[in-house]
Amino acid sequence: MKPEISSHERVEFLIDGKVASAPVGTNLIDAIRMNGVEIPTLCWSVGLEPALGTCRVCTVRKNGREVAGCTVQIGKGDVIECGASDLRNLRQGVTELLFSEGNHYCPGCEKSGDCELQSVAYDQGITHSRFPYKFSHYDLDYSGKDLMIERNRCIHCKRCTDLFVDDEGRKVFRFMGKGRKTVVEMDLKLEAEMSKHKKKEAVAICPTGAILFKGQGFDRPIGTRKSDSRSSK
């Protein structure tokens, strides 16, 4: 439940020692961005509510404690730390974990250039993962009518499972299994019934190239994709 926000009620807080302000009840990451400080996010994005808090890429320090920024609201007098090198290391570490867990071969991916994971990695200056790559085996689920799930690229953010519903409000995607064996599965019956427009939404809600249209490659030429020339944000 989102509290009513009246824009003139603002709170002051500190970002890395500098006084900042934002409307009462603003999502912490939003509040930070309003004040010109960029924090990478993957499972969360403006408008995607409620926050899922699954990827942990937006870890900052709030009043001395590490917290996934997207899961909390800004409060009066909060002391927020973002830029400290240990925090950058935490955020970068989490992003690198995603790269070592999945199989992300960006050059051959349909989402390359429009991928939020890729963009976050570029922004953080990641050249390789510090963690040994797992090269785990993941199945590609091609059994949908129009959509496929490429699990090598899934980052388990839960956007599709928790935030996406079809036109009748039914969940189409689910988490199956547990721990490292967790995979996203698609309800084939509901997928077959979904409108084309809804399917586009499903592809768009995925931050990586894990949910795609079957038989469709790159839909935009290189040079015009979201993060070709600059950061996606």
């Binding site: 409620p50 926050a51 808090g53 699954t54 990827c55 942990r56 890429v57 870890t59 590490e66 996934a68 899961t71 909390v72 290391n89 935490l90 570490g93 989490v94 974990l97 995603l98 070592s100 867990e101 050249t127 390789h128 510090r130 963690f131 040994p132 797992k134 199945d139 689920d141 059994s143 980052i155 388990h156 839960k158 039914r170 969940k171 689910r174 988490f175 199956m176 299994g177 547990k178 721990g179 490292r180 064996k181 967790t182 995979v183 599965e185 309800d187 509901l190």
Partner: protein
């Protein structure tokens, strides 16, 4: 994709049976765990078409059923055997002789772990600690515990099961693990004294008494119980709930098993007192599936205690879990109680504000509720006089491992490690593991350290390992536990623990990568600081504290690498080309002088 079971035709009788089960739970999706237990009872699994049928009756999607089924150890989507054998893989079970027992089962049944015999009679599986570390190695067969298993006993057990005998008739009984009880858990505690006293008090007075006692939650986190009750009471809501967390899953602990067996009346009494204090009419006991064999006994006790004149308008139901360590985390437990996957919630809001079905809820551990009843009966003063400044009263320790007298001990907080090791008659101890895999490791030579929230905090588990044991074996077992029990929701815990497990395996094999020493610290810090719940926040602790407590053991392995054949990776050299290219791209364009 996960192998889906064959779509089978459901007979009309079975269909009617499933329908009546769903109706028995009033088509309540929140009771999905109960429904799945009931449907699974006979064939031993829930097939895809049966799942779809349940979904139809509940008016939810078949996928809703399968995502829950696939989360819990004891639910099966495939035929898993008429008799289901679960071997306890905790480190204590392993060092007590599980390897030979495991082999005996595999030989006798002709299958490997994770398989089902061709005739469909037996399924052989492994699971995390089943709360029998004082009587290991142990296994659950058809959810009945078989303590002190020996390889030689296995053929007999299988033969009897084949001949149609019930597991409950074959298993030797679980004996009491009590070694030494003190002022609060001593055998002479009487049910009802606390309740009668609470009946004459206002909610405010009850909460004040609990606060005055300094009681802190015994589940591990140690939050002030009185403060928790007060917070809950202060949130406006028509409904409130009292939940008892009997999902004692931390490997090495078994004291709640004992309390549920012999002092369940006092636990229910504590719940009733809490209900009075916060104004709740309903309570739930979340019982881990590993303790399902206690369910009938608990029902009986519940029926008896609810007749007490001071019981009040308060009903308790027992909810059976289905095997998931993470459900010991209170918000994951609430999710499970509502019939979903046990994935921890985002906090805030905390359960005291929005808990079970969105209402203010107090979640406390079994031991905490027993203590609450005793504090009311004996007065806060009798409790707070014991212990240390920040850790009041006594606590139960479940001691296991290389000791002559494993079992349950009631000690006052602040007791020294040396005293504990003396009590349990530790046999040439080397490593002391306090608090289970989510706790920490200390050297047995640190006898002056004390068991308390100030120093060595513990949820009750204390494992002792002698000089004969390999520290890396212990660490590998713990990390494997976390990898298996991570819910998979957040990145650091799901992917990070796997990375740490690989690192520990390298150490155990004597083949660390160069730089592993520093990397393990860095990786551990990332996992513990960014994880969503306590599971990931604490999973690296045993490893990092072991590095501090046993530097020589680690040095020996790390030094071996210096002379090994592994080529070091020069990151700067390997990425030089890339960095040059990036520099070139980012170079500000040269300004030309205007013409």
């Amino acid at each position: 994709m996960k192998n889906r079971s064959q779509t089978t035709v459901i007979t009309a009788t079975r269909r009617a049976q499933i329908k009546s089960i769903v109706l028995r739970y009033e088509r309540d999706r929140g009771r999905l765990l109960d429904i799945l237990w009931a449907v699974q009872a006979k064939p031993g699994y829930v097939s895809e078409s049966e799942g779809a049928l349940i979904a139809r009756y509940l008016r939810i999607s078949p996928a809703d059923i399968r995502e829950v089924l696939s989360f819990y150890h004891f639910f099966h989507e495939q035929p898993a055997g008429k008799h289901q054998i679960f071997l306890d893989t905790s480190i204590i079970s392993e060092i007590a002789g599980m390897p030979s027992v495991r082999k005996a089962f595999e030989n006798e049944l002709g299958i490997r772990i994770g398989e089902v015999t061709k005739d469909g009679k037996f399924g052989l599986f492994e699971t995390s600690c089943i709360g029998m570390s004082d009587q290991g190695p142990a296994a659950l067969i058809d959810l009945i515990p078989f303590p002190k298993l020996r390889a030689s006993a296995v053929p007999g057990i299988i033969r009897k099961l084949r001949s149609g005998k019930k597991a409950g008739k074959i298993a030797s009984p679980v004996v009491s693990g009590v070694r030494k009880l003190g002022p609060f858990f001593g055998a002479q505690e009487v049910f009802g004294a606390g309740l009668s006293k609470a009946a004459k008090q206002s909610p405010f007075e009850i909460i004040s008494e609990i606060k005055l006692s300094g009681l802190r939650g015994r589940g591990g986190a140690g939050y002030s119980t009185g403060a928790k009750w007060e917070l809950c009471a202060n949130f406006q809501s028509p409904n409130r709930y009292v939940v008892c967390n009997a999902d004692e899953g931390e490997p090495g602990t078994f004291k709640d098993r004992e309390l549920l067996t012999s002092q369940a009346d006092l636990m229910f009494e504590g719940m009733s007192i809490a209900a009075r204090a916060i104004g709740a009419k309903e309570g739930i006991l979340y019982l881990r599936a590993e303790y399902a064999y206690l369910q009938k006994h608990l029902q009986k006790v519940l029926k008896r205690v609810a007749r007490h004149p001071s019981w009040g308008k308060f009903s308790i139901r027992i909810q059976l879990g289905a095997g998931a360590y993470v459900c010991g985390e209170e918000t994951a437990l609430l999710e499970s109680l509502e019939g979903r996957r046990g994935e921890p919630r985002i906090r805030p809001p905390f359960p005291v504000e929005r808990g079970y079905r969105g209402c203010p809820t107090v979640v406390n551990n079994v031991e905490t509720f027993v203590l609450a009843s005793q504090i009311l009966a004996k007065g806060a003063g009798a409790f707070s006089v014991l212990g240390t400044e920040k850790s009041k009263g006594t606590r139960l320790l479940s001691i296991s491992g290389d000791v002559a007298k494993p079992g349950i001990y009631e000690v006052a907080w602040g007791v020294s490690l040396g005293e504990v090791l003396r009590l349990c008659q530790a046999k040439s101890p080397e490593i002391v593991q306090v608090g289970g895999p989510s706790g920490l490791c200390v050297s047995a030579n640190d006898t002056r350290r004390q068991i308390s929230f100030e120093d060595l905090a513990t949820g009750g588990s204390l494992m002792v390992f002698s000089k004969r044991r390999d520290l890396f074996h212990v660490l590998e077992n713990f990390m494997e536990f976390f990898v298996n029990e991570s819910c998979g929701n957040c990145t650091p815990c799901r992917a990070g623990n796997v990375v740490l497990l690989d690192a520990i395996k390298r150490l155990r094999a004597g083949k660390p990568h160069p730089g592993d020493r520093e990397r393990i610290r860095d990786w551990s810090s990332i996992i513990s600081k960014t994880s969503r719940c306590g599971l990931g926040a604490t999973s690296p602790n045993v490893l990092t504290t072991s590095m501090i407590a046993f530097p020589k053991v680690f040095e020996k392995v790390f030094e071996s690498v210096a002379s090994s054949q592994i080529f070091p990776f020069d990151e700067a050299a390997a990425t030089r080309d890339y960095n040059l290219a990036v520099k070139k791209v980012n170079r500000p364009s040269v300004k030309r002088a205007p013409r």
